[in-house]
């Protein structure tokens, strides 16, 4: 006869490992949901391709397009695709009442933030990982440069940190879909400037001394806004 007694409670663990486990659970939930529906990444991807198509006509992009235009086009595309993803990922939580469920869970609230943010980051990096080779083929350039990849990761981290925080506010507003870009773009300007200039520097093969200030700025932005979001996310989701 099978043992029907409830499983023994897990041994008490340190708060850090519990935190990490909560974060991992949320990321896993997002990835699993995405793996089944594929609605978020496909929307971001198609949108990004359309953006590149529009830029192609708007800016007369050709194979000789200058490196600084390429980085501008890439980051404009990522920024818009990002807002699309952040909004969607928070809206699904909100609409189906998942957010309330998450909030009821006995975990630290900031674990929810990190889970959602890392999930968003993964989606954004996947989209970027697809867009870069596609762009390389379309415009006969090579965008797979280690330095450029570093800038893209650093830029995406900062952008996702602020974007996730603001998206969790925007979805609770009446004007949710239009609100996120309006809230996000003005405060994300430093990260966009630094990312565009840093990427452009690597594409042009600029001297490292010219690129370092941008990398530093990206790191500073990432650290500052991850810390800020960590501290104030509690106030956004409470109630």
């Amino acid at each position: 006869m099978p043992d029907t007694s409830p499983p023994a409670p897990p041994p008490p663990r340190s708060s850090l490992s519990a935190f990490i486990q909560a974060v991992r659970a949320i990321i896993w939930k997002d990835l699993a949901a995405e793996l089944r529906s594929r609605e978020l990444i496909s929307a971001m991807l198609v949108f990004s391709l359309l953006m590149i198509l529009i830029f192609n006509f708007a800016l007369e992009l050709d194979t000789q397009a200058k490196a600084n235009i390429t980085s501008g086009v890439l980051w404009a595309t990522f920024a818009f695709a990002g807002t699309l993803g952040f909004n969607r990922s928070m809206a699904t939580e909100k609409d189906r009442g998942c957010l309330d469920g998450l909030l009821l869970a006995p975990v630290d609230r900031s674990a929810i933030f990190f889970g959602k943010a890392i999930g968003n980051l993964v989606f954004m990096l996947i989209v970027e990982a697809i867009i870069l080779p596609v762009y390389s083929v379309l415009y006969n350039t090579n965008l797979i440069i280690p330095g450029l990849l570093l800038v893209i990761v650093l830029g995406s981290v900062g952008y996702v940190a602020v974007g996730t925080l603001l998206a969790s506010m925007a979805v609770q507003a009446r004007t949710r879909d239009v609100l996120l870009p309006i809230l996000l773009f003005p405060v994300a300007i430093p990260v966009l400037i630094a990312a565009v200039k840093g990427s452009g520097g690597f594409l042009e093969g600029a001297r490292m001394a010219d690129i370092t200030p941008w990398l530093n700025l990206l790191v500073v932005y990432d650290v500052v806004f991850i810390a800020v979001a960590f501290m104030i996310f509690d106030y956004v989701v409470e109630e």
């Binding site: 602020v162 925080l165 603001l166 506010m169 925007a170 609770q172 507003a173 009446r174 004007t175 949710r176 609100l179 309006i182 809230l183 003005p186 405060v187 994300a188 300007i189 430093p190 400037i193 630094a194 200039k197 010219d210 200030p213 941008w214 700025l217 500073v220 932005y221 500052v224 806004f225 800020v228 104030i232 106030y235 956004v236 409470e238 109630e239």
Partner: protein, 228 residues
């Protein structure tokens, strides 16, 4: 309903007198700048308005933090009032700067670091107002307003810094060295006086806006009571 408190009434009068005095000082006391001519006089109010606007944004972040800690509605009213008044002051500063730039640089607008940053600050706080408009629940509106005020205030110096780096790597021909403008003692005195006066203007408008906010709160509560 209570009418204006007496202190506010006096503050109104003092502010009006001071503003008139400042105008006289700017036009009669301050010397005419040799190269730029009379248009340079807009500079005094331009800088004062920008300065006061900055103070207001600082007030909004302090009020935001205070609200999140104490949860007293008065801090939310204060933060909202500060942003609204400051946004107007900052806009005045941009317009005054534009008038000055037209004569001095020959264009209404250049993408100089200071101008670019000012435009972004204006947009950040416009976004703050839009966020508040989109939320009906007063507690949530106050909380989100406070959070956004904090995020905005932290982002502004980083934006400033990033635009600085941008322009030093790519020097701009239009870049001005307004920091090194040769100011005579009389000009400095005029500037200081304008700053002083504009602080009064800000205080006065802020107070009025605070009262407006408090009355708005009262109406909202009464409306809730009626609908119950």
């Amino acid at each position: 309903m209570k009418s204006q408190p007496r202190a506010l009434y006096y503050l109104n009068i003092i502010t009006l007198v001071l503003l008139a005095a400042a105008t006289l000082v700017v036009f009669l006391y301050a010397p005419v700048e040799l190269q730029m001519g009379r248009v340079q006089k807009v500079f005094y109010f331009h800088l004062s308005a920008a300065w006061v606007g900055m103070i207001g944004f600082a007030v909004s972040v302090i009020a935001g933090i205070a609200y999140l800690i104490t949860r007293q509605r008065k801090w939310d009213v204060a933060g909202y009032a500060a942003v609204e008044v400051s946004l107007v002051f900052f806009f005045i500063a941009i317009v005054a700067g534009s008038i000055w730039a037209r004569r001095t640089w020959g264009t209404w607008w250049t993408w100089d670091p200071r101008l670019t940053s000012a435009a972004i600050v204006e947009l950040v706080y416009a976004a703050y107002l839009m966020l508040r408009q989109g939320i009906e629940d007063p507690d949530r509106r106050a909380r989100f307003g406070a959070v956004y005020a904090i995020v905005a205030f932290i982002s502004v110096p980083i934006t400033f810094l990033s635009i600085r780096i941008l322009r030093t790597i790519h020097p701009d021909l239009n870049q001005s060295d307004s920091g090194g403008m040769g100011l005579t003692p009389k000009m400095v005195q005029t500037l200081m006086f304008s700053l002083f006066v504009f602080s009064f203007v800000f205080a006065d408008l802020f107070w009025h806006r605070l009262r407006l906010g408090q009355l708005g709160e009262k109406i909202e509560q009464l409306r809730l009571k009626v609908s119950e």
